[in-house]
Amino acid sequence: MRGAMVANVSSADNRLDRRGLTWGLVGVAVVIALTFIGSDRLVWFDAALTGYLFGVIFSVFGILYRYSVWLRRPPTKMLHRRGWDAFRQRKARNAAALPSLVATNILAQSFIRRRSFARWVAHQLVFWGCILAGLVTIPLTLGLLHFESVGQQADHYQVYLSRVGTLKFDAPSIFGWLMFHALDISAVLVLGGVFIFLRRRLRDPGAMAVERSGDFLALAGLFAVSVTGLMLTVSSIWLHGQYYSALNTIHALTVILGLAYIPFGKLFHIFQRPGNLGVAYYKQANEEGPAQECRRCGEPFASVQQISDLKEILPQLGFDYSIEGGGHYQETCPRCRRAQVTLAQSVRVGGFG
């Protein structure tokens, strides 16, 4: 069994983490300052979106809090440090490789396509739908973005970023339609992805067996936000604004709850997954460094760096794989570990029992 001294952030500890709290509050201060400055001292802040602002603030606090706590787990801390070390070792080459890594691993998510084309399509739809919705909603909520009619022309608008006027467009134009229906487009994208995901989750026995409650909750949240958002458009275009107020309240509630769910649910992987970029640099540096030879068969099986990192974090987690008389069990390759377990078991059996 593991030793009693465990440096891990204990899940049983219900006290607030001080460092996480600090980072969370810094994030909240930045959002408030951004809102105040960006909206030109609240001149362009839309009071109707106050609820959304509280949602964003809570979400930012939660994300930074959890991220800070997560980053302090011994293996996460080690990988975070090593990722940056590896990046700095060959800065120019690694910086040049970054756009391609971001495009492949974060934006195109090609590793999901190799797993299943349908899942990749679903994930891409949800991903780009959420990105589009975020790009529209967050600047609007913080008052960083607003629209003004140009002169007295009611169908001619200009986009303002804070106080700076940018694009002008006609409302009836295709561009105007895209601008005013960007959230409808994002809702349709998200719903397409949600339905593909749901189909798999409800039909695939393997997926059903390893289902976690969070899998459905995330899909239900995305579904609720998208459908209630689309209903606002339905109300204004086809129902002459009927039920708009009630629908608006329901939509706001789903969005605020969704924002509050991000730091604590399945969607937190949005912030964890970019860690994969650090892993890519870490792996490359390890491949270029010395290889660890197996203490049993003598074959190289990993990098000296990663094995030594594991030997450093294991005691912090309460494990002791050191071998009496020198050496460490972690210096054994996985194949030899299986062989040793098998031989050690067989030797305790006197015959074909």
Binding site: M1, R2, N8, R73, P75, T76, M78, L79, H80, N105, F111, R114, D204, P205, G206, M208, A209, V210, R212, H269, Q272, R273, G275, N276, V279, Y282, K283, Q306, I307, L310, I313, L314, L317, F319, D320, Y321, S322, I323, E324, G327, Y329, Q330, P334, R335, R337, R338, A339, Q340, V341, T342, L343, A344, Q345, S346, V347, R348, V349, G350, G351, G353
Partner: protein, 210 residues
């Protein structure tokens, strides 16, 4: 062994008795049929060293009570169910660092470069959660991989069930059992234990010579 499924109260156990393995690879084929990782076999079946021993080494995830793989995962991607099954990595979280592959004392997790993800045996959760034997155990002709209740084991087999191992200074307890003759010697000592089994000299001829 009962082929029908087990009820909630029966509490069947998964037993791996490597000494019985005949290396037929039925388990390797069956594993690929598991619903949670269809088409990809996650069981290991190694030939240790043909020149010195006929022993083959089947290895499934032993589902440690306190899994090292989960603890060393920087992305917190390996979870344990209430039944003690250590699941394969959560797909959205796994960042493909291979810490788990290198830390598992039993050498079980596999890093699948194609998906940039770790995959491992999850004890056929689609089957065992319904009371059916894991795929590998359902096809193993020598019962090296066996699934049933402890009472059934006592009726049909010899030896004692154990689930404690020692790797250097570290003792590890698992959900999956293995078989030994005598409990008196305590946990299976993987590192310093004798590395020559009865299979290397099944009739005791070499021993008699010495």
């Amino acid at each position: 062994m009962k082929l029908a499924h087990y009820g909630l109260g029966e509490m069947p156990v998964f037993v791996v008795d490597q000494s019985r393995c005949i290396g037929c690879e039925a388990c390797v084929q069956a594993c690929a049929e598991c619903g949670t990782h269809r088409g990809r076999s996650l069981i290991h079946l190694d030939r240790i060293d043909r020149a010195t021993t006929t022993q083959t080494a089947p290895m499934v995830c032993m589902h440690c009570v306190d899994p090292t793989c989960a603890e060393v995962c920087p992305a917190d991607a390996i979870k344990q169910t209430e039944a003690g099954v250590v699941q394969s990595s959560l797909k959205p979280r796994c960042i493909g660092c291979s810490n788990c592959v290198l830390a598992c004392p039993f050498g079980v997790p596999k890093y699948v470069a194609e998906f940039d993800q770790m995959m491992k045996c999850d004890m056929c959760q689609d089957r065992t959660s319904e009371g059916y034997a894991p795929m590998c155990a359902s096809v193993c002709p020598s019962e090296a991989l066996w699934y049933g209740t402890k009472d059934e084991f006592r009726e049909r087999r010899t030896g004692a069930l154990i689930r404690e191992y020692r790797f250097g200074s570290q003792q590890v307890r698992t959900k999956v059992y293995t078989v030994i003759d005598d409990m008196a010697e305590g946990p299976i000592d993987v590192v310093t234990g004798q590395q020559r089994s009865w299979l290397d000299d099944p009739f005791g001829l070499e021993e008699a010579e010495t």
